[in-house]
C-alpha cells in the first residue's frame, strides 16, 4: 500500500510540475509600433505612415491570413487580413509590417485605419473567429514623432513578476529584431557568473541524480509489485517455484533440483512404458484442396 502511495505521490508531483509550466507570451505579438512617421521608413508607394510590426512568437511557420487587425475594441473585425497571400505565411520567429495608412487597396499589408499621435492608440489582433483575442497593445498618447513603442526583446511581453515590458524603444527596427543578438546571452551570463562551472556542475548533477533516483524508486516499486504478483501466482499454482519465495535456495539450486526430478521422471517413464501403441492417422482433408494453402502468408509482425 505504501508503494502505491509513493507512486501516486510521484505521479501527482509530475502533474503539478507540468501544470505550473505556462506560456505567458502569446503566439503572435504586436511587437513594435510607430504612430507618427515623418522621416522614417517608407512603403512601396513612397509614402510615410505609421506602421505596426507583428512577430511570429513560435518556432513554426504561421499564417496570418484570415485574422483581424483593429484599432477599435468594439469592432474586432475592422481589418480582415486577406487570405491566400503567400506573404502572410510568416516563418518562425520572424516579423511582418502593416502600414496604418487607411489605404487597404494598396495591398495586403495596408490596413483601413490610421494611428493618431494625439491620443492613446489601441491596437489588437484577433483570431479568425473575430472573437478570440491574440494580442493587444495600447500606445500611449504623446509618443514622439519618428519613435516606436514596443518590446525591447522580440516576443517577450512580461518580466518575471508579470509586469509588461512595453516601452518606448531606443532603436527603430521595422521588420527586424528589436534586440540585436550578437552573443548568446546565456553564455555571456555564465562567463560572468559561473567562470569555473561550479554552479552548472552542481545543478546539472542534481538534475541527473533526481531523474535517475525517480526512475530507481518507480522501478523498485514496480519490481516489488511484480515480484509479489509472481509469488502469489506460483504459490496458488502449487508448483516447485512456490518454494523459491519461501526458502533461501538460489535459482541455480532450484534449477538443479528441477532438472534432477525431471530426469528421474523420464527414467521411470522409460522403464515402465513398454507398450507400443499404433493408432491410425486419418486425414480429413488434403492440402491440395485446402484453401489455407492457397493463401499468401501474413507478413511477419
Amino acid at each position: 500500500m505504501n508503494k502505491l502511495k509513493q507512486l501516486l505521490f510521484l505521479s501527482a508531483l509530475i502533474l503539478l510540475v507540468s501544470c505550473t509550466i505556462k506560456d505567458e507570451n502569446p503566439r503572435w505579438v504586436i511587437n513594435e509600433v510607430m504612430v507618427d512617421n515623418q522621416t522614417g521608413f517608407m512603403d512601396d508607394f513612397g509614402q510615410r505612415n505609421g506602421w505596426i510590426e507583428i512577430f511570429n512568437n513560435t518556432y513554426k511557420t504561421q499564417d496570418l491570413g484570415g485574422r483581424y487587425l483593429t484599432d477599435d475594441p468594439n469592432n474586432p473585425k475592422k481589418y480582415p487580413i486577406p487570405r491566400g497571400d503567400v506573404l502572410t505565411k510568416i516563418p518562425p520567429r520572424q516579423h511582418v509590417l502593416f502600414w496604418a495608412d487607411n489605404e487597404p487597396f494598396n495591398g495586403t499589408f495596408h490596413v483601413n485605419f490610421k494611428l493618431d499621435p494625439s491620443k492613446d492608440n489601441y491596437i489588437a489582433l484577433y483570431e479568425n473567429d473575430g472573437k478570440t483575442l491574440l494580442d493587444e497593445i495600447v500606445i500611449p498618447a504623446g509618443l514622439p514623432t519618428d519613435k516606436t513603442y514596443g518590446y525591447p526583446a522580440d516576443g517577450i511581453k512580461f518580466d518575471k513578476n508579470n509586469n509588461t515590458l512595453a516601452t518606448q524603444l531606443e532603436r527603430i527596427t521595422p521588420s527586424s529584431n528589436n534586440a540585436v543578438l550578437e552573443e548568446n546571452p546565456k553564455v555571456v551570463s555564465l562567463q560572468e557568473n559561473d567562470p569555473f562551472g561550479v554552479t552548472i556542475t552542481i545543478t546539472s548533477m542534481l538534475v541527473v541524480f533526481l531523474g535517475l533516483i525517480l526512475l530507481y524508486l518507480i522501478f523498485k516499486a514496480i519490481g516489488n509489485t511484480a515480484k509479489n504478483i509472481s509469488h502469489k501466482r506460483v504459490a496458488s499454482a502449487g508448483t516447485l517455484s512456490a518454494v523459491r519465495g519461501e526458502s533461501l535456495l538460489t535459482g541455480e539450486v532450484l534449477a538443479a533440483i528441477s532438472a534432477a526430478i525431471h530426469e528421474l521422471n523420464q527414467d521411470v517413464h522409460d522403464i515402465e512404458s513398454t507398450i507400443l501403441t499404433i493408432s491410425e492417422v486419418r486425414r480429413k482433408y488434403s492440402p491440395w484442396s485446402s484453401k489455407l494453402y492457397t493463401l499468401r502468408q501474413d507478413p511477419r509482425r
Binding site: G211, L212, L215
Partner: protein
C-alpha cells in the same frame, strides 16, 4: 609544365588540409580495430572532404556548398537528426532488464556523469568559452551520437575534434579504465559476488520506456530528441509485436545512419580546423573526462556499499560501466572481475550501469543544451 605545377599545388593543399590524419584513422581502424565502424567512415570522409577543387567553377561538390550531395547529407549532422536516429537503433538493440531487475544501478549511471562536468570545468579553466566547454565536456559521456548532437548545436566548429576524440576514447576504454579500477578497489571488494538478477516480466519491460520517457523528459525537455528516440526504439523491441520495425531500427537503419554520420563528420573536418592546439587540448580534456567518469562510478559504488546490507553489496568493479560506451565498459568489468575471481561473472550486473549511463549522458546533454544553447 603548368599541369605539373597545378598538380603539385593541389597535393600541397591536400596535405595542408588533411595532414594525412585520415591515414591514421584508417590505419587504427583496420590494423588495431579501434571503433572501425566509425573510424573508417570518418577517415575516408576526411579524404573525400579535402580533395582540392576550384570552388569558383560552381560545380557544387564541396560539403559546405549549398545544394551539393555532400551538403545535403551533412544536414543530418548540422540539423542534428542523425544522432536521434542512431539512438532509436540503440534503444531497439538494448536490453534494459538487468537495470529493471536491480534499479539501484541507475545511480551508478548518474554518478559517472561527473566526467562530463569535470571536463566542462577543465575546459573552462583552459580558456574555452562555456558553449565550447559544454561540447568538449560531453566527451565524458562516452557516447558518440550524444557528443555529435550536442556539439553540432553548441560549437559546430569543434565537431570534428570532439567526434574523433569521443570515438577514440571509447575505443581506448580497455586501456584507460582497468588501471583506475584496480587502483581504487581492494582485493576484498573485487571478490564481491552479486546476487543473480531476478527475471523481469514483459510488462515491466514495456513499462520501462514509457515511464522512463515521461520522467526524464519532464525533468529535461531539451533531451527529448535523444531520449524520445531511445525509449521509442526500446518500446519497438519490447512490445513484441513490432519485430520488423525493431529489426530495421537496430539493423539497416542504424548502419545507414552510422555510415552517413561518419562520412559527413569526416568530410567536414579539415586540418586547418582540426590540427590546431585546441584539438590537442580537446584530446587531453577528453582523456581526463574518461578518467573522472570511471573514478566517480567506482567511488560512488564504494560509498553506496556503506548503506547496503552485507549480502546486497555491489562489486565496485562495475562502477566503471556507468560511462555508457556500451557494451565495452561492461565487458571490462567482466574481464577485470574474472582476473580476481574466476567464477565471478559481472557482465550482466555491469550492463545495468552501462545502459543507465546512456540515459544519464542523454539527460546531461539535455541539461547542457538547456543551459548553453
Amino acid at each position: 609544365m603548368n599541369t605539373l605545377l597545378t598538380l603539385g599545388d593541389n597535393l600541397k593543399t591536400f596535405w595542408d588540409y588533411t595532414g594525412m590524419a585520415n591515414a591514421i584513422f584508417i590505419y587504427l581502424a583496420i590494423a588495431k580495430e579501434y571503433e572501425p565502424l566509425l573510424l573508417i567512415p570518418i577517415g575516408f570522409g576526411i579524404l573525400i572532404g579535402n580533395i582540392p577543387f576550384n570552388e569558383a567553377a560552381g560545380l557544387q561538390v564541396g560539403i559546405y556548398e549549398e545544394g551539393s550531395v555532400l551538403n545535403i547529407l551533412y544536414q543530418g549532422v548540422v540539423q542534428g537528426w542523425y544522432p536521434p536516429l542512431i539512438f532509436m537503433g540503440i534503444g531497439a538493440m538494448t536490453d534494459f532488464s538487468s537495470l529493471i531487475a536491480n534499479p539501484k544501478l541507475f545511480l551508478i549511471g548518474a554518478a559517472c556523469q561527473f566526467g562530463i562536468f569535470g571536463a566542462y570545468a577543465a575546459a573552462l579553466l583552459w580558456g574555452f568559452a562555456p558553449n565550447e566547454a559544454g561540447a568538449i565536456g560531453i566527451i565524458g559521456g562516452a557516447d558518440g551520437p550524444t557528443a555529435i548532437f550536442l556539439t553540432s548545436k553548441l560549437a559546430p566548429q569543434l565537431l570534428g575534434a570532439v567526434a574523433i576524440s569521443a570515438y577514440s576514447y571509447m575505443a581506448l576504454v580497455p586501456v584507460i579504465q582497468p588501471p583506475f579500477m584496480r587502483w581504487l578497489t581492494t582485493p576484498k571488494e573485487r571478490m564481491i559476488k552479486m546476487k543473480s538478477p531476478r527475471v523481469v516480466s514483459q510488462t515491466e519491460k514495456i513499462l520501462f520506456p514509457i515511464v522512463g520517457l515521461l520522467l526524464t523528459t519532464f525533468l529535461v525537455p531539451s533531451g527529448l530528441p535523444l531520449l524520445g528516440m531511445l525509449f521509442f526504439g526500446n518500446l519497438l523491441k519490447e512490445s513484441g509485436v513490432t519485430r520488423r520495425l525493431a529489426e530495421t531500427a537496430r539493423g539497416p537503419l542504424i548502419d545507414t545512419i552510422t555510415i552517413l554520420l561518419g562520412l559527413t563528420v569526416g568530410a567536414s573536418t579539415q586540418a586547418t580546423t582540426f590540427l590546431r592546439p585546441e584539438s590537442v587540448k580537446i584530446f587531453v580534456i577528453g582523456a581526463f573526462s574518461f578518467v573522472v567518469a570511471t573514478c566517480a562510478g567506482i567511488l560512488f559504488v564504494k560509498f553506496f556499499n556503506l548503506f547496503l546490507k552485507k549480502d546486497n553489496k555491489i562489486n565496485p568493479l562495475i562502477g566503471n560501466a556507468g560511462v555508457s560506451a556500451v557494451p565495452d565498459a561492461a565487458r571490462i568489468s567482466q574481464v577485470v572481475g574474472l582476473e580476481y575471481s574466476p567464477s565471478n561473472y559481472l557482465l550482466m550486473h555491469a550492463m545495468g550501469p552501462n545502459v543507465a549511463g546512456v540515459i544519464g549522458s542523454a539527460v546531461a546533454a539535455g541539461i547542457m543544451l538547456g543551459f548553453l544553447y
